[in-house]
């Protein structure tokens, strides 16, 4: 897969890009989503989940409070996970992410870069960077 870079100019464009990105994310995959608060991580997940027909974009919401959101598509189950408030490796273990990573699963993990184990095990990393009010640079790195 190597590395690719895309610039989007609006949340709509980020969602559209997420939909096409879904085609390159055949499960099982562990994907780390990087980017500061407001970089557009949840917005991108809206597009990816739609790409797998797992959820409508308006139904994809922040998992910060609930930690794991599950969207079941006909072929693929998309898990949107937020480790914003998980601080230690022991707490991470109790989330049972290993149990989620099945043949048909795509794990999209925010703030996963805090954990060396996840950095090591990740298949893809997607970094979102804010370049202006609504402009975003999206950098995708494969294995």
């Amino acid at each position: 897969m190597g590395t690719r870079e895309v610039i989007t100019h609006s949340p709509e464009e980020t969602i559209t890009f997420g939909r096409t990105l879904a085609e390159t994310l055949a499960p099982p995959k562990l994907v780390l989503l990087r980017g500061e608060l407001g970089a557009g991580k949840t917005t991108l997940v809206k597009g990816i989940a739609e790409g797998f027909h797992a959820a409508r974009e308006e139904d994809v919401t922040s998992p910060t409070f609930t930690l794991v959101h599950e969207y079941r598509g006909p072929q693929v189950t998309v898990y949107h996970i937020d480790l914003y408030r998980v601080d230690t490796a022991r707490e991470l273990e109790t989330l049972g992410l290993d149990d989620l990573l099945a043949h048909e699963s795509l794990l999209l993990i925010e703030w996963g870069e805090k954990f060396p184990r996840l950095q090591l095990e990740r298949d893809v990393e997607i970094a979102l960077e804010r370049m202006g009010e609504s402009q975003r640079r999206i950098l995708i790195t494969g294995r």
Binding site: R56, T61, S62, T66, V68, H69, V86, R90, E91
Partner: protein, 383 residues
């Protein structure tokens, strides 16, 4: 029917609750063990801590609820427990305990949706005041750390039906309060801290852009468009706007100093917070809260007009916010719309609301099957 005593159990997030409610209209006891002290150093709810703390708290909390109520296990008529939505591990503690207790006592068990519980907290509050007549339809805003939902609620026979007419597209309102408090180094939980600090700042000082949903609905989607109008919320943008303000006004150093100073105080009081906040921070806090309150109130009232509702309920943890209550009372009164809130102890997560929501299900014989389990993403279904 003579009076019915239901024991409610709630463990969906960071409070372990048990309560006895009589016939869905009188709180006989209401015990809440909060894990906020446990979670404070982490700036949020940590799932493993939550489950472990629920395990530790549940037996003493239930015993105290029974003792406070002057009830015994045998004298109860039924048990009720939160099925979801919430943290799966936390929900399971309450459910496993309630199932075992129900089995041992041979009492019926009722599964309750947490969001339905919040709606019934308002009815419980009103019935306790002797107010039994509620005009239908009701529009209920359930607003907390994990939820920002608008439901049309109606009583149909003994049961209730709910229609979702709006929800957040990204962050819940309470999550925005928590995240902004965290980025300002104010600690957890963010809602009450921001609420109390906001009276010390100038709410007109910082202009936030209107909190509109940034991306439009597409017309070409697979599913047909719903016919009824929707009133969705979006609170991701205001969180980002607060972050930009902090960056452009070079507030980081001041924030870091405050974070350290507050962490060194065992139980920081309002005076400590005020003392550690400069004018800029206080104005930002006040302006942020004003923008949140105005958006919640104006969207809810727009939905109330569109659906021509007779009554407004505002419930959930954020319903304890002072400015939100005052603004709803003022603006709803201008439209001649009665608005009801639970008392503060029934606004945040509690088990009395679960026992109250279980009462109509008890009358209808709507009991949980033996194999029911936690549903972290449980939706409030339309009947």
């Amino acid at each position: 029917m003579s009076s019915v005593h239901i024991l409610g159990i709630e463990s969906s997030c960071d409070e372990t609750g048990a309560a006895v409610v009589r016939s869905g209209e009188q709180v006989v006891s209401n015990v809440v063990f909060s894990q906020i002290a446990t979670h404070q150093p982490y700036g949020g709810v940590v799932p493993e801590l939550a489950s472990r703390e629920h395990l530790r708290a549940i037996v003493p909390v239930v015993r105290k609820a029974l003792a406070d109520a002057g009830q015994s296990y045998q004298s109860l008529d039924a048990l009720a427990v939160t099925q979801g939505p919430g943290l799966a591990g936390a929900l399971l503690v309450g459910i496993s305990y309630a199932k075992a207790l129900g089995f041992a006592l041979d009492k019926p068990l009722i599964a309750v949706n947490h969001l339905e519980g919040h709606i019934h907290a308002v009815l419980l509050e009103e019935r306790q005041k002797g107010h039994h007549e509620v005009g239908f339809p009701v529009l209920a805003l359930v607003v907390s750390g994990g939820h920002t939902h608008l439901y049309l609620a109606e009583q149909k026979g003994q049961g209730w039906s709910y229609q979702n007419v709006g929800h957040t597209r990204d962050d819940a309102a309470g999550e925005a309060f928590d995240k902004v408090a965290k980025l300002l180094g104010l600690g957890y939980p963010g809602g009450p801290i921001i609420d109390r600090l906001s009276t010390h700042g100038d709410s007109d000082k910082v202009k936030f852009p209107p909190l509109q949903i940034k991306h439009r609905d597409r017309k070409d989607r697979d599913q047909p468009q719903e016919e009824r109008p929707r009133f969705d919320f979006s609170y991701s943008g205001i969180k980002t706007a607060a972050l930009r303000y902090v960056e452009t006004h070079k507030m980081q150093e001041h924030i870091e100093a405050r974070r350290k100073a507050l962490a060194a105080i065992v139980r920081p009081k309002l005076e400590d917070h005020v003392r550690l906040c400069d004018r800029d921070t206080l104005d930002l806090v006040a302006s942020f809260q004003r923008a949140m309150v105005e958006d919640l109130v104006s969207k809810t009232l727009a939905a109330a007009r569109a659906y021509d509702v007779a009554t407004l309920f505002v419930t959930g943890g954020v319903a304890a916010n002072n400015e939100l209550r005052q603004r709803f009372e003022r603006d709803a009164a201008m439209e001649g719309l009665p608005v009801f809130f639970p008392s503060r102890s029934l606004s945040t997560d509690n088990a009395a609301m679960i026992a109250a929501a279980a009462y109509p299900k008890f009358l209808a014989g709507d009991f949980a099957p033996a194999d029911f389990s936690a549903e972290a993403g449980l939706a409030l279904k339309e009947a």
